[in-house]
Structure formats: structure tokens, C-alpha cells
Symmetry: C2
Subunit: 189 residues, 2 copies
């Protein structure tokens, strides 16, 4: 009766990979157990329940994405930084659709506060250092950028832009131009 060597980390990693392959919705305790050649009940020694698995994948994805964003921001400023940062989001969603979907589940406030989501805000704030915005405009701009990246990528993934002929890459690029312009000319209160 060989042991599979399960840990919460290994399970989370496997669940994330599985999500990218078969879709986040289809990641079940049973499917995960099958992947390890183990009975479903075995997972409950390492993980609280199915929701716990989902949350762990979401946290993993948030952390991975924050790492990438931080790397993209290093040594860049202004529009250069904006473009690099924005593309990290878009590329991650394309490369890891399951992980990206996982990031959209609602986390309870404490979990959220302890997650890499906080780092995302900080990074977005760092991005804005290249522009001359003081509070509270800075916070408003952060929220706007964050929301925009999120929503744009989501809509693109859902096929929301497919019914218009124009290339999404071109639109995206122009959107970043527009954002850069807006951040340089943020309207006064």
C-alpha cells in the first residue's frame, strides 16, 4: 500500500495545472484524487474540503501573477512600465486560463487581506510613480487600472470582442496609449 506523498502544496499545484487543462469548474476532489492514483477521501487529511482547494488555487494564482508583475516592473517606468505590467495580466490569463478563472472566486475579507491581492495594489501604486498623481487621485487611478485590466482580459477571454472585426491586439495597444495619456493628464477635481 504505497503512499502517494500528498501535501497541501502538491495538491494545490496539481489542482492549478488541472484547472488550466480541463477548466477550473471541472477541478473536483475526485478528479484531483485520480491524478494521484488515490481515493478521494485521502485528500481530506491535507485539505479541508473542495472549497479549500479552490481558494488555495486562487491564492497560488494571485501570488504567481504578482511575482510576474513585480518582475515586469523592475527597471521600467512610465509608459514602458504600464505596457509591461498590463501585458503580464493579459498574457497570464491566456497562458493559465484555469488559474485566472480561480482568481475570480470571492475570498472572505481576512483571506483577501492576507493574500497577494494586496501586493497587486502595491505594484499598481508603484507603476504610478512614473506619473505625477497625488492622493486621492492615485488610489482612484489604481482602482481604475486594476478594474480595466481585469475586465478587458475577461471580456476578451469570453469572446466579447469577437463580433467586431478589428484585431484585439491593436485595440489593446491603443487602449494602453489612451491610459498613458490619461495618467499624464488626469483631470483636476
Amino acid at each position: 500500500m504505497a503512499r502517494a506523498g500528498l501535501t497541501a502544496e502538491r495538491l494545490t499545484q496539481a489542482a492549478a495545472d488541472l484547472a488550466d487543462e480541463i477548466g477550473f469548474q471541472n477541478v473536483t476532489v475526485s478528479a484531483l484524487a485520480r491524478g494521484f492514483g488515490v481515493k478521494p477521501a485521502a485528500l481530506y487529511s491535507h485539505v479541508k474540503d473542495a472549497q479549500d482547494v479552490r481558494v488555495r488555487v486562487a491564492l497560488l494564482a494571485l501570488a504567481e501573477l504578482a511575482d510576474r508583475a513585480a518582475a515586469a516592473l523592475a527597471g521600467r517606468a512610465g509608459k514602458d512600465a504600464l505596457v509591461a505590467f498590463a501585458n503580464v495580466y493579459r498574457d497570464y490569463a491566456k497562458e493559465h486560463p484555469g488559474r485566472y478563472a480561480a482568481m475570480q472566486i470571492e475570498l472572505d475579507p481576512e483571506t483577501l487581506a492576507a493574500s497577494a491581492a494586496v501586493r497587486h495594489s502595491e505594484l499598481t501604486r508603484a507603476l504610478l510613480r512614473g506619473y505625477e498623481l497625488s492622493e486621492p487621485d492615485q488610489t482612484d487611478a489604481i482602482r481604475m487600472l486594476h478594474g480595466l485590466f481585469h475586465g478587458y482580459v475577461n471580456l476578451e477571454k469570453a469572446g466579447g470582442f469577437r463580433h467586431t472585426p478589428r484585431e484585439v491586439d491593436a485595440s489593446w495597444s491603443r487602449t494602453l496609449d489612451a491610459l498613458d495619456s490619461l495618467l499624464r493628464n488626469w483631470p483636476p477635481a
Copy 2:
């Protein structure tokens, strides 16, 4: 053996209401059947399967939201129209969280093309008539606005802004100011 008078429309409506009450994720064929005092199997005469129910709710929500957006746009132009339009999205998400969540499921291309999603794009295009944008800038701006509304509302709903003290209403208002400014000064290619 009294009949419950089920129809696809009635089921869809009930599913939408149920989604707003208990969350879209928790809308199951069984729960829906319980609400009508009927066995789960009864629903399969009116609806293909569980996914069919979800899609119907999504389409209902898209149509409702498009109706509201159209009403908000009537008789308004420029920033006035922009604000009204944007608030329709935000308010709908708050008022109907389950329906709003339903709108995020991925629809296959044909379903999407036949849905009110197309009307959303048209309405956004109408909104832009108050600003002087020619193609392809117009399409780019539509996508940007659409993505921004979507993403902002989502992040707010998920609590993504809660860790910063500033009021979300104020940020939202200033974001609309910024968008108006951007649309009036769209950067040249």
C-alpha cells in the same frame, strides 16, 4: 397529481431570482425543482440540462441589462450619458448579484452573437456619439469602456477595493470624470 405549469421562461425567471438570493453557483436543477414543488426530472421536459438553465439566466440578465442601459441613454448625451450608462452597470450588479454572475459564464459564439451582448456593444457605440471619435478609435474606446465597467464592478463586488480606506463611490465618480476627459482627448495614433 396537480400540474405546476412549468415553462422554460418561468424556470429561467425563477432561476434568476434564486441566483440573486442564494448565489448563482448554488442554483441547481434540484433547488429549482424544489421551488416549484416538483421532482427534478420534471424540468427536463422544458430545459435541456443544468447548463441550459445557466445559459438562459445569462441571456435573461444580458437582455435586462441592455434594456436598462437603453433607457438610461435615452435623451442624454456626452458625460451625462456616460455617467448614466456606467451607473446602470454598477447598480445592476449590486441589485442582482446572481444575474450579474450569470452573465460571466462563457457562451459559445453563436449563442453570444444571437444574444443581447450585441446590443450592449451597439449601446456603447451610441454612447460615444457624444464624443468625436472615428473608427477604429471608436471600437477601441468601446472595448475599453466595456472592459472597464465590467472589471471595476467585479472587483468592487469581490471586495478588491476594501483594503484601501477611500470610498468606492468617490473613486467611481472620479473614474467617470477621467473617462469623460479621456474620450474628449483621445490620443492620436
